[in-house]
C-alpha cells in the first residue's frame, strides 16, 4: 500500500466535498462576505483559556501554558495592562565568543566599541546582534514589546547596512517607541543613521537631490499612495511632493560607520552646506505649504505637516490591523475598525498605545471569526515551537547566545530573516494581494516547518555539554490532567491550536499515542512512570509516546495558525 492509500484508510475521507472546501478557501470574494460586523467597542464576553491564548498568541511570541493560565486568571484588562507595562531595554548584545576583538572582552558589549584596522570584527558582532535578538524574543515575558519591535522593523524597513552598531541603534529606537508616539518615531527614523544609509539620505544634497527616502516616507511610512487621480497625483500626495520633500531632507548624513575612532559615536549630523536653502513648495495635497529657512529643523516640520493629514492615522491603523488581526480589510472593517482606531490615534496625538489597546480589547478582536485565521510568520512559528514547548536554554549567557545564533540561522531559509526584509516594503505577507499571509507557505518552506519541529523533538541542538530539546515529560506536568489521554490531547490542542481539537482529531492522535489500545492503558503507563520517575524504562516508554504525539500535533497545519 502506498502511503496515500494508507492514510486515506486511516483518516477517512472528507465528508465535505473538496470542491466546496477549495472554492471557499481560495476565492477572495467569499472572504469579504464572511467578515465580521463587530466593532471596536470593548469585549465583554467570557475571558477563558481560549480567549487568553488568542490574545497572547497575537501579542507575544509563543505563550506558554502557564502564561495563558495566568492571563486567564487575571482577566482581560489586567493582561492588556501587563502587555503594555513599561519594560526597560534588555542588556545590550555582548561579545560571547570572539577572542580577537582588541576593544571588547568576552562578556562585554560592543555597541560603543570601535572597529579595528587589523581584525574584521563585523562577523562576530553581526552574529551577536542576531543572537541577542532571538534571546529578546525568547525572554520577552508577557509583553507586547518584541512584537512591536518587529512590527516597526517591518514598517520602517532597513536592510543591508552592514554595521551592527548602526543596526543596534536602529532597533533600539523601535524598542524605545514600541507603543509610543508614532509621529516622533517617524522624525527619529528620518535622521536615523541606518535609514540615512539604506534609503540614500546621506547622498541627498542640494546639488543633487536623491528622492529615495522622500518617496518611501510618503508611500510606505506615513500616508500611503492613494488612487492616481491625475497626472502624478496620488490623492494623498503628488510626484512633485516627492521632489520637494527630498529637497527638505537634504543635508543629513550618518556618522561613525565602521569607524575605528574610539571617540566617534554612531549618530547623524546636519551639514548646512549640503542643504537646499531655497523655498520648497508642497502641492495642494499639503495645502501648498512652503518650507524654507528652517535648516536642521525642516525635516521635523515636514513630518508635522504630513501628520496633519488624517490619512496617516488610517494608514498606520491598517498596518497594525494586518499585523495583529487579519489581512482582509473590506468596507465594514474600514468603517468599524480602521476609522475608529484612526480617530483614537488622532485624539492621542499619534500615541500608538490607546488605539492598539482598544483593538486588542475589542469585540472584533475576540470575535470567533478572527480567532485562528492568521498563518504564523516564520519567526512566530519558530518561537511557538521553542517556547510553547518550554525548551530550556542555559543560564550561562555566553552559551545561551551560541544557541540563539543557531536558532537565528534557520530564519533565512524560512524566508523571514530579521534585519533583512526582502524590500523596503517589508515582508510580502503583510501587503501582497491576494495571498498575504499565505506567502509564507509553499513547497519550499513547508518542509522546513516540519523539519524544525522534528529537530527540536528528536535531536535537539547541541553546544558543548548542553542540549536544547523539547522535554515532553516536563511539559506534560504543567497540564491539568495528563492521566486521561483524551484530556491530554485536548489540553495540548488548546495550547498549540487556535481552536479546540475535534473528536475525530482526538481519535487520530490517540492512535499515535496508544495505537490500538484502550484509553486506560495510557493512564496505567503514565501512572507507572509518575510512581517511579527514576526508572529509565518506564520513563523512555512514556516519553517516546509523547514525542510522537507532539510530532503529530506540531505537523498539523492547525499549528501553523494563530
Amino acid at each position: 500500500m502506498d502511503r496515500r492509500t494508507t492514510l486515506t484508510t486511516l483518516f477517512g475521507r472528507n465528508q465535505k466535498s473538496s470542491t466546496e472546501n477549495i472554492t471557499q478557501a481560495l476565492s477572495t470574494s467569499s472572504m469579504t462576505e464572511m467578515t465580521v460586523n463587530s466593532g471596536l467597542e470593548p469585549y465583554l464576553g467570557p475571558f477563558e483559556f481560549e480567549q487568553a491564548a488568542h490574545l497572547l498568541r497575537r501579542s507575544t511570541f509563543g505563550p506558554t501554558y502557564a502564561q495563558i493560565k495566568a492571563s486567564k486568571d487575571q482577566g482581560l484588562e489586567a493582561t492588556v495592562n501587563q502587555l503594555f507595562e513599561f519594560k526597560p531595554s534588555p542588556e545590550p548584545p555582548i561579545n560571547y565568543s570572539s577572542q580577537n576583538d582588541p576593544n571588547v572582552a568576552i562578556g562585554e558589549t560592543w555597541i560603543n566599541a570601535p572597529y579595528s584596522t587589523t581584525v574584521n570584527l563585523l562577523a562576530y558582532r553581526n552574529q551577536s546582534l542576531r543572537a541577542w535578538t532571538i534571546g529578546n524574543m525568547i525572554n520577552e515575558g508577557t509583553s507586547i514589546q518584541e512584537k512591536m519591535v518587529l512590527f516597526w522593523h517591518n514598517h520602517f524597513v532597513t536592510a543591508e547596512v552592514n554595521d551592527p552598531k548602526f543596526r543596534y541603534k536602529n532597533i533600539e529606537l523601535f524598542r524605545e517607541f514600541a507603543w509610543g508616539d508614532f509621529k516622533e518615531l517617524t522624525k527619529r527614523v528620518t535622521v536615523d543613521p541606518t535609514m540615512l544609509r539604506y534609503l540614500n539620505g546621506r547622498q541627498n544634497t542640494a546639488v543633487s537631490p536623491n528622492e529615495n527616502y522622500a518617496r518611501e516616507l510618503l508611500e510606505l511610512f506615513t500616508i500611503g499612495k492613494g488612487e492616481a487621480v491625475g497626472q502624478g497625483d496620488y490623492t494623498n500626495y503628488t510626484e512633485d511632493d516627492v521632489v520637494q520633500m527630498a529637497r527638505v531632507l537634504t543635508g543629513w548624513q550618518d556618522v561613525g560607520f565602521g569607524t575605528i575612532n574610539p571617540d566617534l559615536e554612531v549618530g547623524s549630523i546636519f551639514r548646512p552646506n549640503r542643504h537646499d536653502n531655497e523655498a520648497k513648495v508642497l502641492s495642494h495635497r499639503f495645502d501648498n505649504q512652503v518650507i524654507t529657512d528652517m535648516g536642521a529643523n525642516e525635516y521635523a516640520h515636514l513630518i508635522d505637516i504630513i501628520f496633519e493629514k488624517d490619512e496617516v492615522a488610517r494608514f498606520i491603523s491598517r498596518k497594525l490591523y494586518r499585523w495583529f488581526v487579519y489581512y482582509v480589510i473590506n468596507d465594514d472593517i474600514e468603517a468599524n475598525i480602521i476609522e475608529p482606531m484612526a480617530q483614537i490615534l488622532i485624539q492621542n496625538d499619534y500615541n500608538i498605545q490607546p488605539a492598539l489597546e482598544a483593538l486588542l480589547s475589542s469585540e472584533h478582536f475576540f470575535d470567533m471569526l478572527n480567532v485562528g485565521p492568521m498563518i504564523k510568520n516564520p519567526i512566530d512559528f519558530l518561537m511557538s515551537t521553542l517556547k510553547q514547548t518550554e525548551v530550556e536554554f542555559p543560564n550561562n549567557v555566553l552559551l545561551a547566545n551560541r544557541f540563539w545564533w543557531q536558532i537565528f540561522r534557520v530564519l533565512p531559509a524560512m524566508q523571514m530573516e530579521y534585519y533583512n526584509p526582502p524590500s523596503v516594503a517589508g515582508w510580502k505577507a503583510y501587503y501582497q494581494e491576494p495571498m498575504f499571509y499565505r506567502m509564507w507557505i509553499n513547497s519550499t518552506t513547508l518542509p522546513l516547518r516540519q523539519q524544525l519541529s522534528n529537530l527540536m523533538l528528536f535531536d535537539g541542538v547541541v553546544q558543548g555539554d548542553f542540549q536544547i530539546i523539547i522535554e515532553p515529560l516536563e511539559l506534560v506536568e504543567s497540564l491539568d490532567d495528563p492521566f486521561d489521554p483524551n484530556n491530554l490531547i485536548k489540553e495540548f490542542g488548546n495550547l498549540f491550536f487556535p481552536n479546540s481539537v475535534t473528536d475525530d482529531q482526538v481519535d487520530i492522535l490517540k492512535e499515535i499515542l496508544i495505537p490500538g489500545l484502550p484509553d486506560f492503558e495510557w493512564t496505567v503507563e503514565y501512572g507507572n512512570y509518575i510512581a517511579d520517575p527514576t526508572n529509565e524504562d518506564k520513563k523512555v516508554a512514556v516519553e517516546n509516546k509523547l514525542k510522537f504525539l507532539l510530532q503529530g500535533m506540531m505537523s498539523m497545519p492547525e499549528f501553523y495558525l494563530s
Partner: protein
C-alpha cells in the same frame, strides 16, 4: 547562508511513521473538453525577473544618442570606445560579452523601450502591473500567466495534480511563488529551491472545516501540503533523470537557477513556465564606481545576467532542447535619463527587454529611444512597446493562443509583434535598422512615420503618418515622465496618408513623445514644445 547547515541534521532521524493529509488524491475525469490551448505543445517559457528596475540606457546603449546621454549622465556613462560593437546604432555594455555572442549567433532579440502608459514608479505597484498585466490604474489580483493557465484549468488547484496533469504548470525557482502565475483559485506555480531535496510532508487531516476565515486558511494549508507531496515526486524524478551539459559560471546566482531549470526540462518535466530572478537592479547609488564607469553594481549584474543566459542557451543546445525553450527578461521599470550625483539613477520608465532562444526573430525590434537635448530631472525613457503586446505575442507564437483570446487575457488593444519565429528556417540577425521590424505583410499593416511639423513647436504641431493597408491605429501623446496626455487616434484607419493635429497650447513647455501603435509596428518620437 545554507539552510542545511542547521536543518539537514534532522533528516537522518526522520525514520518515523509519516502521516499524510486525509484528503486523498483522487484520479479525476479527463481534461476539459473546451480546451482552446495546445496541451500537446512541449514548449517552455523561461522568465527572468530583474528586480529593482534595470537601467536600459547603460545596457543597450543607443550610439546615435550618445552625445545627449553624455550631457545627461556623464558620471556613469560607459565610454563609447569601451562598448561592445554590435552595429552602427547600438553598443552593448562591456560586461555582456556572452549576450553579444548570442546576438551574433542569432539567438537574441532586443525589444526596444518596453513599458506602459502612465508609468508608476513605485517598485511594488509597478511589479504588480508587470505581473498582472494590468493598466497602470487597474488593480488585478490574477497574473497574466495565471489567467492563461486558468483558461483550461479553471478549477485548479482542486484535484491537481491528477493522471492527466502530473506536473506543475509553472515553477518559480526560489522560496516565493511568482505573482505572474496567480490564478483565480490559486497560484499555478510551485516554489522550488532545490529540486534534489524534496521530502514528503506529514499532516493530520480531519473531516470538518468550519465555514470561517480560519477554515479557509486551514484548507489552504492542507491543500498546499497535499500538493507539495504530490508534485515533489515528479519533480524529484525529473531532477534525478535530468542532465546538464554546459559549464555554468561559478558562483553565478542566476546561472545556478537556470541550471536547475535545464535539468528539470531535460529530465522530462512537462512544466510550461519557469520563473527565475536576479535582484539588485535598484541602483540609486554606486551603479558605477566613481571615476570608473566600467565597474560597479550594474556592471556586475549585467555580467551575471549575460554569463548565465549564455551558459543556459549553450546547455539547451548541447541537450538538444533549443527549439523547445525560449527565455525573456522583465523588470518593473527602467531608470531616469539623468543620473544623480551618487553615481546612480532613480526610478524611470521604459527599458529594453531581452528575448533569447533559437526560435526567435533575432536582432532588434523597434528603434533606439530618443534622448532630448535637455531632459527634465523626472524624465525617463519613453515607451515604444507596451509590455502586454510582448506578453501577448509570446502567447500567440509560443503557446498558440488565438489573438482574440489574448485580447481577453491581456487587453483589448493588443497588437501583435513578431518577436518569435517558427523554428526550422535559416535565421540570421536582421540588418536593423535598414529593414523595418519583422512583420508579416500579408496579415498586418505597417505605418510609415513622417514625423511631426513643426518641431520644435510652440502651441500646435501636426503628426503625419502613412498606412500601407487599412488597420487599427492608436496614436497617443506622453510627457517626459511617461504620463499619457491624450489619445489622438484610437480606431481603424484607411490605407494612405493621415495627418493629426496635436494642440499643446495648455501644456507646459518641455519634452513630449507621440506613440503610434499599429499591428506590426510601434513607434515613439520625441517632439519639443518651446516657449
Amino acid at each position: 547562508m545554507k539552510r542545511r547547515n542547521f536543518i539537514k541534521a534532522t533528516s537522518a532521524a526522520m525514520t518515523l511513521p509519516i502521516l499524510v493529509n486525509g484528503m486523498g488524491v483522487q484520479a479525476i475525469a479527463k481534461s476539459s473538453l473546451f480546451s482552446s490551448l495546445n496541451d500537446d505543445s512541449d514548449r517552455v517559457l523561461v522568465l527572468i525577473q530583474l528586480n529593482g528596475g534595470n537601467d536600459g540606457l547603460n545596457m543597450i546603449v543607443p550610439l546615435d544618442q550618445y552625445d545627449k546621454l553624455a550631457n545627461a549622465r556623464s558620471n556613469i556613462l560607459i565610454p563609447e570606445s569601451s562598448l561592445l560593437d554590435v552595429n552602427d546604432l547600438v553598443g552593448f555594455h562591456p560586461a555582456m560579452t556572452g549576450l553579444k555572442s548570442l546576438h551574433d549567433d542569432g539567438n537574441l532579440t532586443i525589444v526596444q523601450s518596453v513599458g506602459y502608459a502612465n508609468q508608476n514608479r513605485s517598485h511594488f505597484r509597478s511589479t504588480d502591473i508587470w505581473n498582472t498585466a494590468s493598466e497602470a490604474n487597474e488593480f488585478l489580483t490574477t497574473g497574466w500567466l495565471g489567467r492563461f493557465f486558468n483558461e483550461d484549468h479553471p478549477t485548479f488547484p482542486e484535484n491537481y495534480p491528477n493522471d492527466d496533469y502530473q506536473d506543475p504548470f509553472a515553477i518559480t525557482i526560489g522560496s516565493l511563488v511568482s505573482e505572474t502565475c496567480q490564478g483565480i483559485g490559486g497560484n499555478y506555480s510551485l516554489a522550488i529551491n532545490d529540486p534534489f531535496n524534496l521530502n514528503p510532508l506529514a499532516s493530520v487531516g480531519i473531516d470538518e472545516v468550519p465555514d470561517t476565515p480560519y477554515g479557509e486558511e486551514l484548507t489552504f494549508l492542507r491543500t498546499s501540503i497535499e500538493q507539495t507531496n504530490a508534485y515533489s515526486e515528479v519533480i524529484g524524478d525529473a531532477a534525478t533523470l535530468g542532465n546538464t551539459m554546459a559549464t555554468y559560471p561559478d558562483g553565478n546566482r542566476l546561472g545556478e537557477q537556470l541550471r536547475n531549470v535545464a535539468t528539470l526540462i531535460s529530465g522530462g518535466l512537462k512544466t510550461k513556465v519557469y520563473i527565475v530572478s536576479l535582484g539588485g537592479f535598484d541602483t540609486h547609488a554606486n551603479q558605477t564606481v566613481d571615476g570608473n564607469p566600467l565597474n560597479g553594481a550594474h556592471a556586475d549584474l549585467l555580467n551575471i545576467l549575460s554569463d548565465a543566459i549564455t551558459a543556459f542557451q549553450n546547455d539547451l543546445k548541447l541537450l538538444g532542447l533549443e527549439e523547445r525553450v525560449m527565455g525573456m527578461t522583465f523588470s518593473e521599470f527602467g531608470r531616469r535619463i539623468r543620473s544623480n550625483a551618487s553615481f546612480g539613477t532613480d526610478h524611470g520608465d521604459a527599458a529594453p527587454l531581452l528575448v533569447f532562444g533559437n526560435c526567435i526573430n533575432p536582432g532588434f525590434i523597434g528603434e533606439n529611444p530618443e534622448i532630448p537635448d535637455s531632459p527634465g530631472v523626472q524624465d525617463g525613457v519613453a515607451m515604444q512597446h507596451d509590455f502586454r503586446d510582448v506578453y501577448g505575442s509570446v502567447l500567440v507564437d509560443w503557446f498558440e493562443v488565438e489573438e482574440e483570446k489574448v485580447k481577453d487575457l491581456l487587453y483589448a488593444d493588443f497588437q501583435y509583434i513578431s518577436i518569435l519565429d517558427p523554428c526550422g528556417g535559416t535565421i540570421t540577425p536582421n540588418d536593423w535598422p535598414n529593414t523595418p521590424s519583422p512583420y508579416n505583410p500579408n496579415k498586418y499593416s505597417i505605418v510609415i512615420d513622417h514625423g511631426n511639423f513643426p518641431n520644435p513647436f510652440r502651441e500646435r504641431t501636426n503628426i503625419e503618418f502613412e498606412l500601407e493597408k487599412e488597420g487599427f491605429v492608436g496614436l497617443s501623446v506622453f510627457n517626459g515622465s511617461g504620463q499619457k496626455i491624450v489619445d489622438l487616434v484610437h480606431k481603424t484607419l484607411y490605407a494612405g496618408k493621415h495627418q493629426v493635429k496635436f494642440d499643446a497650447s495648455t501644456l507646459p513647455p518641455g519634452n513630449y513623445y507621440y506613440h503610434i501603435q499599429t499591428a506590426g509596428a510601434q513607434r515613439t518620437k520625441l517632439m519639443v514644445k518651446v516657449r
